[in-house]
Symmetry: C2
Subunit: 425 residues, 2 copies
C-alpha cells in the first residue's frame, strides 16, 4: 500500500477524520471567495456532531457550478492556484476546477494510492494514454506516477500503432487509459500481428467511462492483463477518487479525503447499504473547489464498510453502472447502455464496438442495436439467442443490425454509444 | 530574474563552473550504463585544464543516439528515471531522453528562468499550447510554470477557437506555443471577430521552429504581445536551453548547465564570435542523457560573452536561422527557408503560410514559391517587386504562385514549409 496507515484506519478513526474534515471544509468555505458560500450562511460548522448531520446540508449540483463559470465557485484566489482542469463541456457550459499546490499534492497522494492498489511500485513503467490537457485524465496519472516513482511514458491519446510499439520496445508493464481505448488497441494489434504475450504488460487501469464486466473479461483475456476500474471526476479533483483492488470486491473510495453517500435521485434521501442510487461526494481536503454533497450523477451503491480482503478499510462501492444523464428511457423502460453491453459482449462473434440508435417511428420509440462482427462473426442461431436475451432484459423488441468489423467510427477520447434521434420536448 | 545569483555570475565564475561540470560529466559518463562511454575510454577528466581542451573531445551525433534506441545511451538505470521524452522520429529512428528526478528539477529551473526572462512572475496565467506527451514542449512549459508559480491553463495543441475563448475568459496573460501556431490563432481570431486588444495577453513565448524577424513583427502587431524566442531540443533535455531577453540582444544559453560552441560543420573546427555555424552543446548537469559536444545541427553564431543590458552574463547566440538538415540547395545555391520567409512577410498582402516546392524539370532544379493572399491581397506591382527581391537574394528565378487565403493546409504541430520532389541520389 502507498499509505498503509491511512488506508487501513479503523472505522471510528475514519469517522473522526471525516467529521473534523467536514467542519473544516465548511468553515473554510464560509470564509472563502466562493459565491457558493451563501448556501452555508445559516450553518455553523460546530453544529455538525456526527456524520448523520451531513444530510442536513444542502446538495451542490453541476448546474450551480456551471453558473459560476469560469471562477466564481473557486474558494481561493486564482493567484494561489497552480493549474486548472475543465470538464468537456459537451453537455453544456464546462466546469473548471482550479487547483492549489495543496490540491495537486492531494491528487498525487490519492492517485499514488490507486496505482499502488493496482499492484504498481516504483519499478513499474507506466504508459499514460488518456490525453494530457484540460481533461484531467492524463495529468492525474502523471501526478500519481511521479509520486509513486514509476517510470512514465507520456504517450497521450491516439496513435495506436505507436502505442503498441512503445509498450513492447520500452518494456512497459502498466497502462492507464480511457476504458474504451483497449478495444482499439486490441483491434490494431490484430491487424498488425502484435502479440501482447510478447510484452511485459500486466496491468491496465481504466476509467472515465462505464464498462461492463463482460468487456472487462474480454480485455483481460486478449491483452493478458489484470484490469482495474478507476473513478473520479473533474469537480472532485479528477481521476483517483477510488479504484477497485485485487480482491475485486468493489471500488474503495479514499475516505480520509472524501465522504461518499448514495441517495435516491428523486427524493434526495440517503439510501442504505446495497441500494442503488446517485453517488454524492463531499470533499474533505480540497482547497480550490471544496464541495459539500456534490451530486455526481453517477449510479452506484454502497457495498460494504467492512475491512476488505486486501486489507484496506475504506468503504467499497459498486462499479459505476452509468450516469443519471445517460440512463435511457425507451418505450417506457429505463436502462443503462452498460447493461446492454454486458449482454452483447457475451457473444465472442461481436466486437466491443456497438451503438444504440433510438428514433421515433410512427409516433413510437424504436431502438436499433448496431453491432459489429468480430473475427468469426455470429451465427444465425446465436443471433436469435441474443435477440431473446435482449428481449428478456428490455421487455421490448429492438432491431439488431450486424455490420462488418470497423464500421463504427473509432474516436479518440470517450466512445459514442448512443444516437438518440427522438425529438426532445 | 528567477535565479539572479546564477544568471549574473562573472565570466570567470561561469568558466570555473563549466570546467568542473565538464570533468564531473565525463567522469560520470565513463562510469555509467551508457554504451557511449567507450568513446571516452582514453580520456581522463582531470586532463581537462581549460575550456579550450573541450575541442580535444569527440563529438556526439544524432545518428549515434539513434543507434542506441531505445535506452542504450542512457547513463543511469531506467528504474532511476522518472519519465522520458522522445524526438518525433520524422527524419528516422526517434531519440529517447530518459530523465531522472534531478533532470526534471534541472528542467524546471531552466524553464523557470526562461519564463522569468520573458517577464513572467507567479502572478501570470500561462496557457500552454504545445502538445503534452512524448514531444517535450508541453511538459517543458509545465515544469517551468510550476516552478515559477504561474497559474497554468493546460490547453495543449489544437482547438483554436477554444484557445481564444480561454485566453479571453480566463484572463490569460501569457502563452507558450510552437512558433507557427500564432499565425493560425490570428487567422481564426479574424474569422470569428476576436480582438486580442480586449484580452490581457501580453507575452508569447515561441519555439520549436525557426521563425523570421518579419514573422515576429507581424505576430507582435496583430496579437498585441511581446514575443520571446525559446530554444531547446529533446536530446539536451528539452525546451529551455535558452531564450532571448527583453533587451532582444540574442538568446541567452544557461551556461551553468550547458557549454555552447559554434563549429564549422564541414571541418568540425570551433568558430570565433560572430561566425555562423553549427551549434554544439555539452551538458553539465544532466543525469539520464549527459552529452559531450552534441551536434545539434542548428545554425547560429556566438554574439557576445559580455554582460547583457538585461543584466544577465550568460553568453548570447543569434536566433537560429535553420538546421543543417533544412538548408536547401537549389540550382547550386544554399539558403534557409527562414531567409525566404523574411522576404515574403515584408508584404502585408501575404499570409504567414507559404511553401517552397522544388522539383526537377528537364534535368534542372525549379523552385515554386506558393504564397497565400492575406486580406487585401498583393498588387501586380508589389508582386514584381517581390520577384526582384527574391532574385536578388537567391540569384536565380523562382516561380511565385499566389493562392487564396486558407489554401495551404493548417497542421497541428510543426509547419510543413518545404516540398522537395527532386529524386534523391
Amino acid at each position: 500500500m502507498f499509505n498503509s496507515v491511512q488506508e487501513t484506519l479503523p472505522r471510528e478513526e475514519i469517522e473522526k477524520i471525516q467529521i473534523a474534515g467536514l467542519r473544516k471544509t465548511l468553515k473554510y468555505l464560509k470564509n472563502s471567495n466562493s459565491c457558493l458560500k451563501e448556501k452555508y450562511k445559516h450553518i455553523e460548522p460546530e453544529d455538525i456532531k456526527s456524520l448523520d448531520d451531513l444530510k442536513l446540508l444542502p446538495f451542490t449540483t453541476k448546474d450551480e457550478l456551471r453558473d459560476c463559470y469560469p471562477f466564481k465557485h473557486i474558494a481561493c484566489d486564482i493567484s494561489d492556484c497552480a493549474r486548472m482542469h475543465m470538464s468537456s463541456g459537451t453537455t453544456g457550459v464546462p466546469v473548471i476546477n482550479a487547483m492549489t499546490r495543496g490540491d495537486i499534492a492531494q491528487w498525487g497522494e490519492i492517485m499514488a494510492r490507486c496505482l499502488s492498489c493496482a499492484g504498481l511500485t516504483e519499478k513499474d513503467r507506466i504508459q499514460i494514454m488518456p490525453s494530457f490537457g484540460l481533461f484531467n485524465g492524463g495529468f492525474g496519472f502523471h501526478y500519481g506516477a511521479e509520486r509513486l516513482g514509476c517510470f512514465i511514458v507520456p504517450a497521450g491519446a491516439g496513435r495506436s500503432l505507436m502505442q503498441l510499439k512503445l509498450i513492447k520496445e520500452l518494456e512497459v508493464t502498466a497502462i492507464g487509459a480511457i476504458a474504451s481505448y483497449p478495444a482499439r488497441l486490441i483491434e490494431v494489434a490484430r491487424e498488425s500481428g502484435f502479440d501482447f504475450r510478447e510484452t511485459k504488460l500486466r496491468v491496465a487501469i481504466l476509467g472515465a467511462e462505464t464498462w461492463s464486466d463482460e468487456y472487462r473479461k474480454r480485455i483481460e483475456e486478449e491483452m493478458n492483463v489484470k484490469t482495474f476500474d478507476i473513478i473520479g471526476l473533474t469537480e472532485t479533483g479528477g481521476v483517483g477518487l477510488g479504484i477497485d483492488c485485487p480482491a475485486r470486491a468493489g471500488i474503495h473510495i479514499w475516505e480520509d479525503h472524501y465522504i461518499v453517500e448514495i441517495i435516491d435521485s428523486e427524493t434526495g434521501q440517503p439510501l442504505p447499504e446495497g441500494k442503488e442510487g446517485e453517488m454524492v461526494i463531499t470533499t474533505l481536503t480540497r482547497e480550490g473547489l471544496p464541495l459539500i454533497r456534490y451530486r455526481t450523477r453517477d449510479i452506484s451503491s454502497i457495498l460494504s464498510y467492512e475491512k476488505c480482503e486486501c486489507g484496506r478499510t475504506h468503504v467499497r462501492v459498486s462499479r459505476i453502472r452509468g450516469r443519471t444523464d445517460d440512463m435511457l428511457k425507451v418505450k417506457g423502460v429505463n436502462f443503462y447502455p452498460s447493461q446492454v453491453e454486458q449482454i452483447l459482449l457475451k457473444y465472442k462473434g461481436l466486437s466491443p464496438y456497438y451503438q444504440l440508435v433510438i428514433e421515433t417511428v410512427k409516433g413510437k420509440d424504436e431502438m436499433t442495436i448496431i453491432v459489429e462482427k468480430a473475427d468469426n462473426g455470429i451465427t444465425q442461431k446465436e443471433l436469435e439467442h441474443l435477440d431473446l436475451e435482449l428481449y428478456d432484459f428490455l421487455g421490448f423488441h429492438s432491431k439488431i443490425q450486424v455490420v462488418p468489423e470497423g464500421t463504427i467510427q473509432r474516436v479518440p477520447g470517450k466512445a459514442v454509444r448512443i444516437v438518440d434521434k427522438r425529438k426532445k420536448i
